[in-house]
């Protein structure tokens, strides 16, 4: 063999291996308007009912439609429903679907599809479960008309059917909606403005949607998830770029059109580019929170929890999370500031100059004996990590025996479900955040509940807060609803199921050749044009 033959062999093997690749050609989208979008996370689960992940909720808005939707004025508007009636005894709703509604497989949307979808959703969603408790029966009158018969009046019926965030009551074909509510569906056939292209889905990298040409939008202008959902691009590619510096370079270079959520430190980098617009399109933002473990000392003691209300400065958390006071502000409310039920009732301990002396006095009164406090942290989640470090500093200033135990998000969400004491892998505090729509009322703010072992991680038990929450459900008009919510909040600031830490915004960035981006607390992609 001649010299260098070894290298030629390697090269030949390489060429042969490449030639043997049998991956199907990928549709290029040539000749079409293609919107390239960097989502906040990788889409892994297609089922918006089995998971509450926001990326799956956003996927749901692409492919599914809803019976009702909430608009920017917090008013419920019909979406798939053409008209509806409520009987005079307030026990029977009759819904009639709009004409021309079709699923992506060409089948018409029928009453049976709507009923099966709502019943599946109601098995998983907390507000859906409340609706199910009040429901006597769902009945299809014909293919376009169906009724909901209630056992007792449920004033939040339409609000439940228009729930804007996880879990959203999306409508699916009956054959899919009959799937067990704990089993992930894998068929994303919906009736929404875009169709999911499963053949081009590369989990961890790319999701492709194409315009649903059969979709019949409403005539009204879009307002949050209500109004006309007019798809104005032919194809949308969600390109997941895990590295934020690369994502910034990609939008700067024009390789992508829209970056859903950018870290605050990259805002100045993109703001310099005149072809990129950095904007806040989320009117409600997100709410940071500090959650206690109520099962063990020291935070099974109410005075210990109250002590933190006097010591935590939300301004620090705004800066820690959002990087700039322009991207957030304190919110001394258990309900999203800027929404109808928000108030500062009972929030005095959190406001004004921080009172460490009062906090220390409460700690003394609690009988704290130096028990170890473990804050579980996820260093791969900057919003969690920054809050953890700030809380650690506060606890140490108060003279508490605290430490941060760092891991990744996957470890945190596993560990927080542990009901064991600290020496057996338990925890005392964790931080997370919830999007604004998930904290707007006692119905959706699950973290404010006190239903013990059935509550969210931390398992607080408080009969009074549960009683006040039930009273809120019974409120029949906006004024009494606000009053009842204020009572829930008053009790929450006494009982302290968690500490609200900040309201903040993660801005979006898009190329200036895009227009029509909808201002809403969820990322919605209809109405967006690419010039």
């Amino acid at each position: 063999m001649s010299k260098g033959g070894g290298y030629r062999s390697i090269a030949l093997i390489g060429v042969l291996m490449l030639a043997a690749l049998s991956v199907a050609p990928i549709a290029s989208g040539q000749g079409q308007t293609v919107l390239r979008f960097i989502p906040q996370a990788d889409l892994r689960i297609l089922d918006p009912i089995t998971t509450t992940a926001y990326i799956t909720r956003n996927h749901g808005y692409m492919v599914y439609d809803t019976l009702f939707a909430m608009d920017a004025k917090f008013q419920v508007q019909p979406q798939m429903v053409d008209k509806y009636e409520l009987s005079s005894d307030k026990l029977t709703y009759t819904f009639t679907l709009r004409d021309g509604l079709k699923f992506h497989d060409g089948q018409p949307v029928r009453s049976a599809d709507c009923i099966a979808s709502i019943e599946r959703w109601a098995k998983r969603d907390a507000l859906g479960q409340k609706l199910a408790e009040a429901t006597d029966s769902w009945k299809a009158v014909d293919d376009k008309t169906f009724t909901l018969k209630l056992k007792k009046p449920f004033p939040l019926t339409l609000e439940a059917l228009a729930k804007p965030s996880s879990n959203v009551p999306f409508i699916m074909p009956e054959r899919i909606a009959k799937t067990d509510a704990s089993t992930n569906i894998t068929d994303a056939t919906g009736s929404g403005p875009f169709k999911f292209v499963k053949e081009e889905w590369v989990p961890g990298s790319k999701v492709v949607y194409v315009k649903n040409k059969d979709y019949v939008p409403r005539k009204e202008p879009p307002s949050w998830a209500a109004g006309g959902k007019v798809a104005k691009v032919d194809r949308i590619e969600w390109i997941y770029i895990p590295d934020s510096a690369t994502a910034a370079a990609a939008i700067n270079a024009g390789e992508v059109d829209w970056w859903e959520q950018m870290p605050p430190d990259l805002i100045p980098v993109l703001a310099k580019n005149k072809n990129v617009k950095v904007e806040n399109i989320d009117p409600l933002g997100s709410m940071g929170l500090l959650r206690f473990n109520f099962l063990y000392p020291p935070f099974n003691n109410q005075k210990m929890r109250q002590a933190l209300l006097y010591a935590i400065d939300q301004n620090d958390y705004v800066l820690g999370i959002a990087g700039d006071a322009k991207n957030g502000h304190p919110c001394y409310s258990y309900f999203t500031c800027g929404t109808p039920l928000a108030s500062e009732v009972g929030a005095e301990p959190m406001k004004g100059k921080r009172d460490f002396e009062k906090a220390k006095q409460l700690i003394k009164e609690s009988g704290y004996k130096g028990e170890k406090i473990v804050i579980i942290d996820a260093t791969d989640q900057p919003i969690v990590h920054s809050q953890s470090l700030l809380t650690l500093e506060v606890l140490r200033k108060l003279g508490l025996n605290a430490e941060v135990q760092a891991g990744d998000w996957g470890t945190l969400i596993t560990r927080r479900s542990s009901k064991e004491p600290i020496d057996k892998g338990g925890w005392s505090i964790f931080h997370t955040w919830l999007v604004g729509p998930d904290v707007t009322s006692p119905a959706v703010n699950f973290a404010v509940r006190g239903n013990g072992q059935k509550a969210w991680f931390g398992w607080p038990e408080d009969a009074k807060i549960e009683e006040l929450r039930e009273a809120w459900f019974a409120a029949t008009d906006p004024a009494s609803s606000k009053k009842a919510a204020a009572a829930v909040q008053q009790r929450a600031f006494e009982f302290v199921p968690y500490v609200p830490t900040a309201q903040f915004i993660l801005p979006t960035a898009y190329r200036t050749n895009l227009s029509g981006v909808i201002i809403a607390p969820m990322t919605l992609m209809w109405n967006v044009e690419k010039h």
Partner: protein, 313 residues
């Protein structure tokens, strides 16, 4: 030789079985619960428990291992816990980008490093030799992600010559495919250029000091003939060893490069699976990697016989 190859292939099966058991055991012991990830942030303990039961994660270790090993024996790598897609399909989607990146990096590394090493050895002690060695030190020292960002900023953002990120299948054309691999290959290949160039130089210097090289020179052979025809072939065994190790490391070591350049390769698939505790994918990828390592080692061992006729199997 054939008996040797068969023996080695059989040992591959044994190695893979051991790897399968060890990996399964480690994952079983590792903290983290895919059910918690699936359920999302707004889940309750009851939700997680329900998903746990559905996935069979409550079963004893041996039951879970037996179920997985039984499916594996039938060629089934399982199904992703999250996407519900077959693991084989997910790996299949990712093979092309990783293979392409590996091949391009290897081509870049060999095409640059071997000539550099040979010439540096031939001109040992000169400025060229020192420059090659200085480059080698730099190549080792600069982290891949730093070099990647410098390349992206320079060639993709400032000059707009090449794409920042992404991958195009070779089915979409050779040039689109190559354009998306140039920067990642340089970023990933630099460390291998440094490694192979140093090894080539050292090996060549050793061979050039041998008597038979002096004899060839005394016979009046042209310097190029001595260098390439006599010295390089005899210096090839250690070079092939380091290239073989490099290939194995490249396949798994491409994780950072794939992440920075958003290449949908096997490295990223693995990291994503680890972060969300998608056990079937982690197990599947680990098995494939272990098989590749063993086979690459076998190929390198066989190549010794080609370069050095004294070696027999």
């Amino acid at each position: 030789m054939i008996a040797y190859v068969v023996r080695r292939l059989f040992s591959t099966v044994v190695v893979m079985a051991v790897v399968a058991f060890v990996v399964f055991s480690l994952l079983y012991l590792t903290p983290g619960d895919p059910a918690a990830v699936i359920a999302g942030d707004i889940a309750t303990s009851e939700d997680i428990q329900r998903i746990h039961q559905r996935l069979g994660l409550d079963d004893p270790f041996l039951v879970q291992f037996g179920r997985w090993a039984g499916a594996l024996a039938h060629g089934d790598l399982g199904t992703s816990i999250f996407t519900n897609l077959p693991v084989a399909q997910l790996i299949g989607q990712r093979v092309e980008p990783t293979l392409s990146l590996t091949l391009c990096t290897l081509v870049v590394a060999i095409a640059v490093a071997v000539p550099l090493g040979v010439v540096a050895a031939a001109k040992a002690g000169t400025w060229f030799d020192r420059a090659v060695m200085a480059f080698s030190v730099l190549g080792f020292s600069v982290p891949v992600f730093v070099l990647a960002y410098i390349l992206i900023f320079t060639f993709a953002v400032a000059l707009d010559w090449l794409p920042v990120q992404g991958y195009r299948s070779i089915h979409e054309g050779f040039w689109p495919w190559l354009r998306h691999l140039i920067l990642p290959s340089i970023a990933l290949g630099t460390v291998y250029v440094a490694l192979i160039a140093r090894m080539t130089r050292a090996s060549m210097l050793d061979v050039l000091a041998q008597d038979y090289v002096r004899t060839a020179q005394a016979k009046g052979l042209a310097p190029d003939q001595v260098l390439l025809g006599h010295a390089l072939k005899n210096a090839a065994v250690p070079i092939m060893t380091i290239i073989g190790i490099g290939v194995a490391l490249l396949i798994s070591g491409a994780i950072v490069t794939e992440t920075v350049f958003a290449l949908p390769g096997i490295g990223r698939l693995t990291v994503d699976a680890i972060l969300r505790r998608d056990y079937p994918i982690i197990q599947g990828v680990t098995l494939i990697f272990s098989a590749i390592y063993v086979l690459v080692n076998l190929a390198v061992d066989l190549s010794y016989a080609f370069f050095d006729p004294r070696i027999r199997y």
